[in-house]
Symmetry: C2
Subunit: 184 residues, 2 copies
């Protein structure tokens, strides 16, 4: 797969968009094909089954998470701040993939669930390396997951109530780290 065909990429992207924006139930092969601008037959040439589409999402997420972990581990602001800040981003390729993975996992796709757990493990590992304290790493994982859950929702309640509050949250991070050192 040196350079996947353009049509294949377009189909996969359409599938991910449908998963994120309308949910797993709406992400049918027919709807995906239509959104990608190909026929059902055309789609099935690249992805022989629905399962193949889901597996492609898992595989793509792995490519992107490897790049993200590199950035996280070398971020000047520190892994924790990087992690919280990027958890609130909704327009990145990685965040789309993570949301798609979550939708698949909740629909019973076992490999998506496994991949999400694997990703969480690697994040936790990177956080522990920076903050040392398990309780604080736990806290930061929860904050990130919360941000992720809220901003991943199509609704605007979160934006209405906490727009612009992210910078305040990030200012609290050094203080949270201090709490951890006090605990040790």
């Amino acid at each position: 797969m040196a350079r996947p065909p353009a049509a294949r990429t377009k189909v996969l992207d359409a599938y991910i968009s449908l998963l994120c924006e309308e949910g797993e139930r709406a992400a049918t092969m027919e709807a995906t094909a239509a959104k990608a601008g190909v026929s059902k037959g055309g789609l099935l040439y690249h992805f022989a089954s629905k399962e193949a589409l889901a597996e492609a999402v898992v595989a793509l997420s792995e490519e992107l998470i490897l790049l993200d972990l590199q950035d996280m581990n070398t971020a000047e602001e520190g892994a924790a701040s990087y992690f919280i800040r990027t958890s609130a981003q909704v327009d990145t390729e990685l965040d789309r993939l993570l949301l798609a993975l979550q939708r698949l996992a909740q629909s019973g796709v076992e490999s998506a669930n496994t991949q999400l757990e694997s990703i969480s493990s690697r994040w936790l590992e990177a956080l522990m390396e920076e903050v040392g304290d398990k309780d604080i790493a736990h806290l930061i994982m929860l904050i990130s997951e919360g941000l992720y859950a809220f901003t991943g929702t199509p609704g605007t309640w979160y934006q209405r109530n906490f727009e612009g509050n992210l910078s305040h949250l990030l200012e609290l991070v050094p203080q949270l780290k201090k709490l951890g050192h006090r605990n040790q």
Copy 2:
């Protein structure tokens, strides 16, 4: 509806269980009827359509959230601690309902999304009353949402990594509140 028929209750409960344990896609009318031990026809007498089932979930969640808000506002440990502690509970009727609501919202059921936003607003209001500081209320909402997202997953990654860590988390709450007062 002074006392809903037993069969109706059993059907609704089966639907909620399927939503939580196997996802929205698996929660078909046929599967729901089978799990409730009635026929499709029997189910359709109580719920004329799939939409009627979803609306019943929303209505039941409203009953339970009113009771929970009362408990939260009068909890001796304080609203924030109560809120975080109960967010990690997975076996209560309310938490099942909230998970079911989330699954419906993610499947495009608009009223479920509206209800979730309404619930978040009322929680935030109760938290603000106790902690005063918006950033800290924000932080606590995120922690709770994170707990909720992690523990609502059928997977065991969270349990493996953070089993027994909840008490440490709760011990941090007073310190978080202090951070808020420092900010004012």
